[in-house]
């Protein structure tokens, strides 16, 4: 059974029909990429899954439960972590406190301490800045913190929203290398990206979203080789 099932999901913002019936699944251990242009509904899809926005139609099942309409904190408690668009760093808290708050619902303090150590080996830059105010971090460091913080929830499913957004190419390479490591360690990931090239490079399955609907789905490698997709999303050559 799939870890996440999205079925006929529709979202409306006032008069705007942002999602028009999106369906897909994510299996345990899989990395799935959701690609598409700005405004296609990628972020909205993630927000509807984590409960930040309400679906006007359709269902979401996560970890064997119907989570449609549940508030975010209850969905998160089922084992979902969402590193949101714009990173969502708490700039008024220290780096260390940001990490701690990622593990807010966990009571297994010894395991949290181990996961914290592990996250800091993945992102050694954060280790040097633990006591610093998170607002003082660079964009790349904030993205690292957002991912590390999400990992501290020890999620069954990790939602990553545009981890490459606004970052220098070198940093993007670094972040995706770590995303690959996290996937290899067995975390299931649903990744949203405008940078289709990077996203399809780590994902096994990809979906292409256009104005609120899925238009193409398939193995990531095939999507990356598809001429139409290359033209539209990969800077087409």
């Amino acid at each position: 059974m799939a870890l996440l099932e999205v079925d006929g999901l529709e979202v409306r913002y006032g008069g705007i029909h942002a999602l028009r019936g999106v369906s897909f699944t994510v299996d345990e251990g899989q990395v799935v990429a959701l690609i598409g242009a700005n405004g296609a509904g990628k972020t909205t899809t993630l927000r509807a899954i984590s409960g930040v926005v309400r679906a006007s139609k359709g269902r979401v099942r996560f970890a064997g439960r119907d989570t449609t309409g549940l508030p975010p904190h209850q969905i998160v408690a089922l084992g979902l972590a969402h590193a949101p668009e714009g990173r969502g760093i708490f700039a008024n808290l220290s780096v260390d406190e940001n990490l701690a708050i990622g593990a807010y619902l966990r009571r297994d303090h010894a395991a949290v301490a181990r996961d914290r150590e592990h996250a800091l080996t993945l992102f050694p830059r954060l280790k040097e800045r633990l006591s610093q105010n998170a607002g003082t971090l660079s964009g790349g460091e904030q993205q690292m913190l957002a991912i590390a913080r999400a990992l501290l929830a020890r999620p069954r499913l990790l939602l990553l929203d545009e981890p490459s957004l606004g970052l220098a190419p070198q940093i993007v390479q670094l972040i995706f290398k770590i995303v690959r490591t996290i996937a290899a360690e067995g975390t299931t990931i649903l990744l949203v990206e405008q940078n289709a090239h990077m996203a399809l490079g780590v994902a096994s399955t990809g979906h292409v979203l256009e104005v609120g609907s899925l238009v193409t789905s398939g193995p990531a490698r095939e999507l990356a080789a598809d001429d139409a997709i290359r033209k539209a999303y990969l800077g087409g050559h």
């Binding site: 984590s50 409960g51 930040v52 508030p71 975010p72 904190h73 998160v76 408690a77 972590a81 969402h82 949101p84 969502g88 708490f90 700039a91 008024n92 808290l93 406190e97 701690a100 708050i101 990622g102 807010y104 619902l105 913080r149 929830a153």
Partner: protein
């Protein structure tokens, strides 16, 4: 220079500052998580003071012959009532407006304030007659400092206020719940994504702010003795000055509220003693104007650009 007068004025500033600080924290905590001014907060102070009177009268503790534990027991009861009141106000009046424009919430707060002020005057609530707060604490001097008699009540007031302030500081900066409060304050949506139950944190915040208001109300009663009816302007002015303290310190900032409270109280007391007692309110609002011109974010606040 008259040292005795100077020390006396400092002592007055210290007790008044303690009172302002406890009340100012309620404004600042609620502003921190909801970004609005809870205009009903001063009425929670009023009710805290009156509940202390009601409990003391009901138990029969009427004066300094009351047992030593009378004051803490009544304080705890009054704080519990006000915490429940704060919880209820938020749940019934503010939560349904969580997604509404801020102005709606502000107007609702004024409505809640009027409701509490006027229902407090009902015969079967507190009535319209002023009452004398029982003297649960002795006004005898505990010690004398530079010729100034320092009464037991002043010492207890200041110690109590500092204890609560330190406890709050610990709660906000050293506990998991405080961390959640600060996260909610910064970004409610992302806080929810961390698994924080935002509604619950907001409820806690109201309860804590209202409990501190009750402590402020009781301190007011013990120190100044006379409880005027719940719609009297003396309560509004008390709440207003505490609000000024929160703004002067930087609204939303816990340490700022305390700093602002003591600054306001000292200026008020020194102005009254050395310039003109009639002008004491003018000094308080003068500081507000000066701070808003020179450092609009407050003394410890950060300057932010507000989109209107």
């Amino acid at each position: 220079m008259d040292v005795t007068k100077f020390v006396q004025v400092c002592l007055n500033g210290l007790t008044l500052g303690s009172l302002y600080a406890l009340i100012a924290l309620g404004y600042t905590l609620v502003y921190g998580v909801l970004r609005f001014i809870n205009f009903a907060h001063s009425d929670v102070v009023t009710i805290g003071a009156w509940m202390a009177f009601v409990f003391a009268a009901a138990i029969g503790w009427a004066g300094t012959d009351s047992p030593l534990f009378a004051m803490p027991v009544i304080l705890a009861m009054s704080m519990a009532v006000c915490a429940t009141l704060g919880f209820t106000i938020e749940r019934l009046a503010y939560r349904p407006l969580r997604r509404a424009p801020r102005l709606n919430v502000l107007i609702t707060a004024i409505g809640v304030s009027l409701f509490l002020q006027n229902s407090g005057q009902l015969k079967w609530v507190f009535g319209t007659q002023p009452q004398a707060m029982p003297k649960l604490l002795s006004e005898e001097a505990l010690f004398t400092l530079a010729g100034v008699r320092v009464p037991v009540v002043d010492v207890v007031v200041v110690v109590l206020a500092f204890t609560l302030l330190v406890a709050l500081q610990w709660l906000v900066f050293r506990t998991r719940m405080g961390q959640a409060m600060r996260a909610v304050s910064f970004d409610e949506r992302t806080a929810a994504l961390m698994g924080i139950n935002v509604d619950m944190i907001i409820s806690y915040t109201f309860m804590i702010g209202s409990a501190l208001a009750a402590a402020g109300g009781m301190i007011y009663g013990l120190k100044y003795g006379n409880l005027l009816q719940s719609a009297d302007s003396v309560w509004v002015l008390l709440g207003l000055k505490a609000f000024v303290a929160a703004v002067v310190g930087g609204i939303g900032n816990v340490r700022g509220a305390v700093a602002g409270a003591f600054l306001i109280a000292f200026v008020e007391m020194f102005g009254a003693a050395y310039r003109s007692p009639q002008m004491r309110d003018v000094y308080v609002f003068g500081i507000l104007i000066a701070v808003l011109i020179l450092k609009p974010g407050g003394l410890l606040g950060k300057a932010t650009v507000e989109k209107v």
